[in-house]
Amino acid sequence: MDKMPKWADIVLIPFISLFLAAFFSALVILAIGENPIAALKLMVDGALMRSAGWGYTLYYATNFIFTGLAVSVAFHARLFNIGGEGQAMLGGLGVALACLYIDWPHWSLAILGASVGAACFGALWALIPAYLQAKRGSHIVITTIMFNFIAAAILNYVLVELLRPVGAMDPASAKFPEAVHLPTFQDMFSTEGSKLFRGAPANVTFFLALLACLVVWVLIWKTRLGYEIRAFGESETAAKYAGISPVRITVIAMLISGALAGMMSVNTTMGESERLILNSTEGAGFIGIAVALMGRNHPFGVLLAAILFGFLYQGGAELALWTSIPRELIVVIQALVILFTGALDNMVREPLEKLFIAMRRRNA
């Protein structure tokens, strides 16, 4: 028998963890002499009470959905892919090449082409660590994190030496042509009378991210490949017994993971900056780990967690703008959320399980 009902596992535990994170964040804010309630109000106002705020929140959330799904898929095969950052960077290169060197008649075709480019480059960047893990036993955590640095160096080289337009000063590619401009939420939802999502970077890629959630859900729980990935992740010895090749699953799971991470850059590179810049990923690859942890590796959970982190990002920016709370504190708050929802999960889980068992016994 399961120790507690499913709703408690999925809803109650993250909620309590969040509450604890908020509580300790409040203490920190108090300690630096600011008012935590006012700070929270400012965050909610800035991120959720105006459409432009939502426009930013969902823009960040789009990134986190992709990287969160990337970590989840790998984790179902018990592979800890912390190379999302590097895979997203290289994915950006794929997007830039697709946008700069192919003449697209319409953005809808361009986004497909750019997604393929991003997915291929991201997957390729995950392939080498995957191969090393599967064939040589090199630990994937080590190799993927090293590949993040290599990716950053490669991107730097490519931007400075190859893609930088002649005469330009900053390490960035040329601006993408007008034809590949993706519709933003402002383009899509504003009417004559009311300007919605004014100036916000959220764009059509958000829907691509939602689609990715659906596809990952079907893949993991409805297909044979997903069955094999989960089986391999739960027990490698059993997978071998069933004739599931560990090498094959390791490589495929990492390819899918890398592709998803790479697709994040469709949002940042094509949807927002409209050219390839250095550090467009802004750590979203790492946030993906927290998102996957908090979302319990389920696409729906990842979606919710991504929106939460989008809120923290946008709300944090508002705090830095309007109060004397330093920007670094936002990192502290995010860290607390990760700490309580991810690392200290058992701290909440165990007492809660005991409580449910005690309750059940009393009712029995």
Partner: protein
């Protein structure tokens, strides 16, 4: 009458909603061997863990020699004169016997005086009880039987008056088991009290003075061994009448299904585990492979099942099977008509976190009939799983429950249902009833015999001699990667097989039923 060596009064212990021990009272006289028997999960180990201070009872009292004693930890248990020999030994492999014995009982910061004392004491114990072990030998070089002696010596060195042994014969050859029981007899004569936990009825009947039966956390009966019978004990354990022997008609072997020639298997560490064996299995017969665990049987199954590489020749229905590479994986083996109930159902046969219904297609998830376009036909699989669980009497019959939430016997039934209903030409079955309770054993054996009677070939590997003898038609014994003998199951006995299992091929002294007296075979190395 003297005070009982141990008396438990009203011990209860619950783990969450599970009541592992319910109001257990028991009293053991000094100088006796007291057996505790019960199915898996009946609460035997919990009760002993309470006695040894690993768990704290929710209620109840413990009396040692008539005095109420609190046992909050194992140190207290040792002070109270209780020693425990665990099923899995707790020895430091690369320490010597002597070092292991003083471990945790050193007299001071410097070891020399402790080692000296221990050496003297050990010599004394060896003389008194016949517990001979070389004190300077490193543990990993000792046979399993001798390692167990070290565990007993450890307890005696700590002045144990009461010795608890948890499933002590599970890892021993029959000869080693005999030696163990001779030692226990000596200990009893010297006035020690022994509590023997086992699920083997034969050991209880032969060696104990009194026996307590546990079922579902309760002590259902305590009887004098001389006044009971195996059938009666089995009934007390299960709560209904059970058939102890398999009811089957003689085999009618048909064509050769599996033919193995010169098979060799080298494990990942580079050690040769199977050293060139020849073996055939015919349609309509059960071939049992007997042997002490670790003599190459597992590797044989792994090669046949497609998850280890080997060299040699294997044909299946006349067609050669590849032994390495992609064509030798589990999928290819299944396609060739081989089903496999693996030895370790929890690590191999099932995905413990998966629901039962998902597990009913594990390994066969490529079958065309459970695909629905690009997706798996999850509804169809679920419905079929429900029916399978009904047919194999899996309890509870809930396909949504995760495999880890079923008892060992019911987990095994899920694996069996999956493998047998594939209607294979050859069924490989390893340790079919390890950790399975008596009630389920009867059912599982019957299913295997039914499959045989349908004309299928069955290769059975088991470390339980009783099981091999009652289930197999032909018995092949493996020792150190070789086949040391082959016998007709109807015309052999445990003594004879025991010698073969120890690598002694001259069995004329014990052949044909009666069995010789204390034949003292050479010691068997721990792992081939």
């Amino acid at each position: 009458m003297t005070a009982p060596a141990i008396e438990l009064k009203g011990i209860s212990k619950a783990f969450g909603p599970v009541q592992a021990n319910k109001d257990i009272s028991i009293s053991v006289q000094p100088g006796t061997i007291h057996g505790i028997i019960g199915e898996n999960g009946a609460g035997k180990s919990t009760l002993m863990s309470i006695l040894y201070g690993f768990y704290k009872a929710d209620a109840g009292e413990i009396f040692i020699k008539g005095e109420k004693t609190l046992i909050p930890d194992s140190q207290a248990a040792i002070r109270a004169g209780i020693g425990m020999v665990f099923q899995h030994f707790k020895l430091v492999e690369n320490f010597t016997v002597l070092e292991n014995i003083i471990l945790g009982a050193e007299h001071g910061a410097m070891l020399n005086s402790s080692l000296g004392n221990a050496r003297k004491e050990l010599k004394h114990l060896a003389e008194e009880y016949g517990l001979n072990v070389n004190p300077d030998e490193v543990i990993e070089n000792l046979s399993v039987g001798h390692q167990q002696r070290v565990e007993i010596l450890k307890a005696l060195y700590r002045k144990a008056e009461i010795l608890i042994l948890d499933e002590p014969t599970g890892v021993l050859t029959p000869a080693e088991a005999d030696q163990l029981f001779r030692i226990l007899d000596r200990l009893r004569e010297e006035g020690k009290t022994i509590i023997l936990i086992t699920h083997k009825l034969r050991e209880i009947m032969e060696y104990t003075d009194t026996v307590s039966v546990m079922r579902r956390g309760e002590m259902t009966a305590t009887v004098k061994t001389s006044e009971t019978s195996p059938e009666h004990l089995a009934e007390l354990m299960v709560g209904r009448k059970v058939l102890l022997r398999v009811d089957k008609k003689p085999a009618e072997p048909g064509a050769t299904v599996l033919d193995i020639k010169g098979l060799r298997v080298v494990d990942e560490a580079g050690v040769e585990r199977v050293k060139g064996i020849d073996l055939t299995v015919h349609a309509g017969e059960i071939v049992g492979i007997a042997g002490v665990a670790g003599n190459g049987q597992s590797e044989l199954l792994e090669v046949l099942g497609g998850f280890a590489d080997g060299t040699g020749e294997i044909t299946m229905n006349g067609v050669a099977l590849p032994l390495t590479g992609h064509g030798a994986d589990g999928q290819a083996r299944r396609a060739a008509g081989i089903s496999h109930v693996p030895e370790d159902r929890q690590r191999e046969g099932l995905i413990m976190e998966f629901a039962a219904w998902e597990n009913t297609v594990f390994g066969y998830h490529h079958s065309p009939e459970i695909q629905n376009g690009l997706l798996m036909d999850n509804k169809g699989i679920y419905t079929e799983a429900e029916a399978k669980m009904q047919r194999f009497d899996v309890r509870p019959p809930d396909p949504k429950l995760a495999a880890k939430n079923f008892s060992g016997g019911n987990q095994q039934k899920i694996v069996l249902a999956r493998e047998i209903e594939r209607n294979p030409d050859l069924l490989l079955i390893g340790q079919p009833t390890r950790g399975v309770d008596i009630g389920a054993i009867e059912f599982i054996h019957q299913q295997v015999v039914n499959l045989r009677d349908q004309g299928k070939a069955i290769l059975l590997v088991s470390v339980e001699l009783e099981e091999i003898l009652s289930l197999a038609d032909r018995v092949v014994v493996m020792f150190d990667g070789h086949i040391t003998g082959e016998r007709d199951a109807a015309h052999t006995n445990e003594k004879e097989l025991g010698l073969l299992m120890a690598g002694i091929t001259d069995t004329s002294a014990v052949a044909n039923g009666n069995g010789g007296n204390d034949t003292n075979p050479q010691e068997v190395p721990a792992d081939g």
